[in-house]
Point group: C2
Chain length 313, copies 2
DNA sequence: TTGTACGCGTTATCAT
DNA sequence: ATGATAACGCGTACAA
């Protein structure tokens, strides 16, 4: 008379055999008489046995066949933000190639503490974020993407500062002298530093500004340095609303080179970062019990239609 | 002298107290003298305790705070296919709102069998797929999206056949009589049935064809019924390559209304399905221990620039 | 080929 | 407030 759930034991008792044999029927078919095995499987089916409990199996074996990912901005961002989608595509490919599962961990709540994973990716988060702290406490193998730098843990990032500098230098070379910088200071600290360095070195006028205001400043900037393509695309929009032509009246440069950047009107000049490769690399590290590797991927200026020399009239 | 791993027991012994108190220090702070608690936490930190093991906790408590998703076409498709991205955005929102984690399960290998989840979403898969069979065997609460129909399990889908019929009727109403149908017969059985029904009822000429060939047939079809926007977009491409103007020489209609459909040249006429809403609904069912609910969401014809009356000359 | 015995790390229950 | 004990469901030496 069984109460409640059907387990290995239930089957074993129903058949008058040992649990070992039932376990073997599932995990080591060769250690078993085929005839017995099929009797076991038959009984299991008859009794509605759901198969060896994954949680118990995990506990016992100590292994886990899933890697986790903690993404700054929340779980839904994985499918919302084009740059994140691209990054995750890379990660997913590597994880899938290894035959593992990918766990998207919620940013808040008990997420990280309860995640049953062999390793955890951490992406675009402040070092003091509770999830990052929890990850550290759990002493999991970690792979950080972009943010934060965690000494002793694997890291995959890009040359943020150099890319930003490159963007500014492109506009400076075109002759621009008055700039608006659009960014989120805490999230884009490195990029901001890169802009600053190039701009100050050239003695240019610039100010960090919010988006609609940036275009209304007096004297009006002739170029916008946007820390992400999303912001750059928004700047294009704002320019249009303000009756400004891009690039004649205003140059705009972005950062990331998301798929939409090539399709905007005008197409966006931007700093390309290899999002897919970054993801694939992070994914490969994730499945390989990472240990402190650091990779900084290069970025590249992509000139399209949204930047041109300033026109004085 | 401890060997290997640090566990609850390690802490308890080091402090000469019971494991219960250590456990409570983590899970029931109120059941504990604050002074003892901080001593425990201190020792834990000192010894490098990683906190209660999630696998063990799961086993003991029987609860799981993650839902799984098995996606036809593989894990990477979640970030590759625009329609899937949209669907998953909806799912992720609902799952995140419930504070749960989302496990992307690999299609092949032991994926489903080893997934530690409270419920499993199954998306666009044939009924005989090993993953689906495994899910059934595990007796998990299931939420099927699109495919396959599984009696007794929750289902979220759309009016596939009606949508396809609507697409065909749109072209018929424009005066078309010769059609090429582009689809994957097994994956788009319902849509194919919808096309067939409308086309046959109208006595139109039509044939299912592969993409480059479809446009080369003699006499050339005046319209293409594509079972997905992806195929429709490819048809646009093929038409361009063949020197055909759309919609003057050839009308093309898609299915799904992915974001790219509105941006193509010409913009794609298509059958819109509410991918985001479908995902959100599936997600809500997933987190709510679903039990057999069935929802069929409506579709809608969206007329854009890729369809027009045929021109005879 | 099959069974015995033990342990995986935790939490619930009940007693103190 | 704290502790002893018993599961949870399973894997795997090892012995038979």
């Amino acid at each position: 008379v069984t109460s409640g759930r059907v387990t290995l034991k239930t089957i074993a008792e129903a058949l008058g055999i040992s649990r070992t044999s039932v376990s073997n029927a599932y995990n080591r078919p060769d250690q078993l008489a085929p005839e017995l095995r099929s009797r076991i499987l038959g009984k299991a089916d008859e009794l509605g046995y759901a198969g060896p409990d994954p949680a118990a199996r995990r506990l016992r074996s100590g292994r886990s066949d899933t890697v986790g990912l903690l993404l700054g901005g929340g779980l839904a961002r994985a499918f919302d933000d084009p740059a994140a989608v691209l990054l995750l595509r890379g990660i997913a490919r590597a994880v899938e190639a290894a035959g593992l599962a990918l766990l998207l961990v919620p940013e808040h709540g008990a997420g990280v503490r309860d995640a049953v994973v062999a390793a955890l990716g951490v992406c675009s988060l402040p070092a003091k974020h509770p999830g990052v702290q929890a990850a550290l406490e759990r002493r999991l193998p970690l792979v950080v993407v972009d943010q934060p730098r965690l000494p002793g843990h694997a890291y995959v990032g890009i040359d943020e500062r150099g890319g930003a500098r490159r963007a500014a230098e492109h506009l400076l070379a075109l002759g621009h002298r008055r700039f608006a910088v659009v960014c989120e200071p805490q999230a884009h600290r490195e990029r901001l530093a890169g802009y600053r360095r190039a701009l100050d070195a050239a003695g240019a006028d610039w100010a960090r500004q919010e988006l609609p205001a940036a275009l209304a400043a007096e004297p009006r900037p002739t170029a916008v340095l946007a820390a992400t393509d999303r912001l750059a695309l928004a700047a294009l929009e704002a320019a249009r609303d303000a009756g400004l032509r891009v690039p004649e009246d205003l140059s705009v440069i972005g950062f990331d080179d998301v798929p939409g950047a090539a399709r905007s009107l005008p197409a966006l000049t931007t700093i390309r970062q290899p999002l897919l490769e970054k993801g694939e690399l992070a994914g490969r590290l994730l499945v390989a019990a990472p240990s402190g590797q650091v990779a900084i991927l290069p970025v590249e200026l992509v000139v399209r239609g949204s930047t041109a020399p300033p026109s004085y009239y």
